[in-house]
């Protein structure tokens, strides 16, 4: 379980994240939704300890991120906004590199890599250099790399960015499978349909604040809208008006 409590972060005079509180449960997919520049990436960066919060706390599986960042990262599998694969290495070598950084031994690395390559249907690209991969192939490789240590918590920043329909479907199936395995999946998106299709719980964030938090049904009820997208627009709109006032 991931618990984020009254998180605050500013860069200079600009407040990026302002008092954000939410949690993501094990065996659930939680969606962090908001318009561009709402503070999603900054929140996630604090979660995987790349940035230090000004205030507030984060725990991952009961471990505090401020005091034990290494332990937190050990429990997390992260697909950041920047995929950043090494283009002169093959997909398999990219995956194995992160496994080594997690301190796994050669035999375990081989087994896990093979199983991920199979699950993500990457057999035909596994031993090719990443240079020249399609967007979908890159995302698959980056996901395999992020999950090679079998983390109980998985954080994905805009995972479907730049993916075609087929690749998006593969990704969704994969995330559902992770949920069935009882893992805690948290991902950010600015596409409402995607969140509606996948999430058990939705956290809407706008201008650095959480403006709504609940199941898709609860959000629809709150706004008296049938479509989740309409609900989203309504909530964001209200939040923006409130901020401006």
């Amino acid at each position: 379980m991931i618990v984020i409590d009254r998180l605050h972060k500013s860069f200079g005079t600009k407040t990026a994240v302002d008092d954000v509180t939410f949690s993501a449960l094990d065996g659930q997919i939680t969606g962090l939704v908001g318009p561009n520049g709402a503070g999603k990436t900054t929140t996630l960066r604090m979660l995987y300890t790349l940035l230090k919060p000004d205030r507030g706390s984060i725990t991952v599986g009961g471990v505090d991120a401020a005091t034990q960042p290494l332990e937190v990262r050990r429990r997390l599998g992260v697909l950041p906004d920047a995929r950043g694969l090494y283009k002169r290495l093959t997909a398999r070598e990219n995956i194995a590199y992160y496994a080594q950084l997690h301190g796994m031994d050669a035999e375990l690395i081989r087994r896990r890599t093979n199983s991920l390559i199979e699950t993500l249907a990457m057999q035909d690209i596994a031993d090719r250099r990443v240079e020249g991969f399609s967007q979908g192939e890159r995302v698959k490789t980056a996901i395999a790399r992020a999950l090679v240590h079998e983390p109980p918590h998985i954080v994905l920043d805009e995972p479907s960015n730049g993916l075609d329909v087929i690749a998006t479907r593969t990704l969704r199936d994969f995330l559902r499978q992770l949920k069935v395995e009882g893992r805690c999946v948290l991902f950010s998106s600015h596409i409402m349909q995607e969140v509606a299709a996948l999430c058990d719980r939705i956290v809407i964030i706008a201008a650095g604040r959480v403006v709504a938090d609940g199941s898709p049904d609860a959000l629809r009820e709150l706004t008296k809208e049938q479509s989740l997208e309409e609900a989203f627009v309504k909530i964001i709109g209200a939040a923006t008006v409130e901020r401006l006032a």
Partner: protein
């Protein structure tokens, strides 16, 4: 496997697959110094040789006033040029480099047995004319002495009376040391090779990794950042050191080539000298690559980092120039300064002298201390938020 080792192996593997890194670090870097060096040296040697063997063209004004003198000079290789109208401005404008003027009083003085005056006209700011002037002066002095001796003999005196001293010069520089004089810039070239060898990896693993957006995912791994830094800088150091070793071998080969062509000086870079130099350079290589990584970490992009590091590699040129231009006698404290200490010690080694163990230790100790300080700075930079997040 320790994370630093994993990072090290990955950096090496990736770089070995990068043609640009390979060509720059392992081919161009090591060959650049020796090639530049050999061609410069050959140019100088052939220039000097040309000047010594070729006729010396001189404009002589009033040659008809001193036919004996002129014909004696001509026997020694002087080539009489047709007189010009305005010799002084011709020299100033560099159309000719030297002229000899014989005035009207010459013939009278000559006949009367008084010293007869001749003027050498030249522009001392034209350095290239120096050897020619020297040659002309030597010719004139030789002629003057011969005539003086003849006059003494005519008067029945022993010519040796006129010499108070008998000066004989003996140059005690060993052929090796004489070579080393020419090779004084060699330490700079070697240090430059180390710079070039490490540069690509240093950029690639900081500014490059950030530009390709792979730094952020890398930092999500449960690895302390100094381990990542350590792995990267070891990889850069290995490339730098390999480059240096190859460069040194190329120099050794070039020195052998030059020695067989050119008598009078010898520079040998034997296995012992090579080993000593490599040993001496280990801490400096570390200091160089850490400094490169620190500088590259400040750059926003690969290109920017390249510019910064290009400037950084001019740094070792300063002590080289200072040592070459200023008549400095190496002092003990100079050996404590990184870059300078290694250059001084390398010069001694190349001259065929020994560098004492305490002196080696002094240089090494201070350079290691500087490398540790640089590492701490790099570590701080690496741990800052600014590094990972694209600004």
């Amino acid at each position: 496997m320790s994370p630093a080792v994993a990072v090290f192996l990955k950096e090496c593997r990736e770089s070995l697959r990068d043609k640009r890194v390979l060509i720059n670090a392992l081919v161009l870097g090591p060959l650049l110094g020796p090639l530049l060096f050999v061609s410069l040296l050959r140019l100088t040697i052939s220039h000097q040789r040309e000047q010594a063997d070729n006729p010396l063209p001189v404009v002589v004004i009033g040659a008809e006033l001193a036919p004996n003198l002129v014909s004696a000079l001509e026997q020694q290789g002087l080539q009489l040029l047709p007189p010009l109208g305005d010799v002084e401005s011709a020299i100033r404008e560099q159309r000719i480099s030297v002229a000899l003027r014989i005035t009207g009083a010459f013939a009278d003085d000559w006949r009367a047995g008084r010293p007869a005056q001749v003027d050498i006209l030249y522009d001392s700011s034209q350095r290239s004319s120096g050897p020619q002037i020297q040659r002309l002066r030597t010719m004139l002095e030789g002629y003057s002495r011969r005539v003086g001796f003849q006059r003494l003999i005519v008067r029945g005196l022993a010519p040796s009376l006129s010499s108070g001293l008998l000066i004989s010069e003996r140059d005690l520089a060993t052929p090796q040391a004489r070579g080393a004089l020419l090779f004084a810039t060699l330490p700079y070239f070697l240090i430059l090779t180390a710079f070039i060898g490490g540069m690509w990896l240093a950029i690639d693993s900081t500014a490059g990794e950030r530009e390709r957006h792979s730094l952020e995912p890398l930092l999500t791994n449960p690895v302390p950042r100094d381990q990542i830094l350590l792995g990267k800088l070891l990889a850069a150091a290995v490339f730098s050191f390999t480059s240096l070793t190859l460069g040194l071998m190329a120099f050794s080969f070039a020195a052998r080539l030059l020695r067989s062509q050119q008598s009078g000086m010898s520079l040998s870079i034997g296995p012992n000298v090579m080993l000593s130099i490599l040993l001496l350079m280990v801490p400096l290589v570390l200091l160089i690559v850490i400094s490169q990584m620190v500088v590259a970490a400040f750059a926003k992009s690969y290109r920017e980092a390249q510019t910064y590091l290009g400037l950084l590699q001019l740094l070792p040129l300063i002590p080289s120039i200072a040592l070459g231009v200023l008549p400095l006698t190496p002092q003990l404290w100079m050996y404590a300064l990184p870059l300078i200490g290694q250059q001084l010690a390398m010069l001694r080694l190349l001259r065929g002298e020994l560098v004492s163990l305490p002196l080696m230790a002094l240089t090494t100790l201070f350079t290691v201390a500087a490398a540790i300080a640089a590492f701490l700075i790099a570590k701080r930079l690496y741990e800052s938020e600014r590094l990972a997040v694209n600004a």
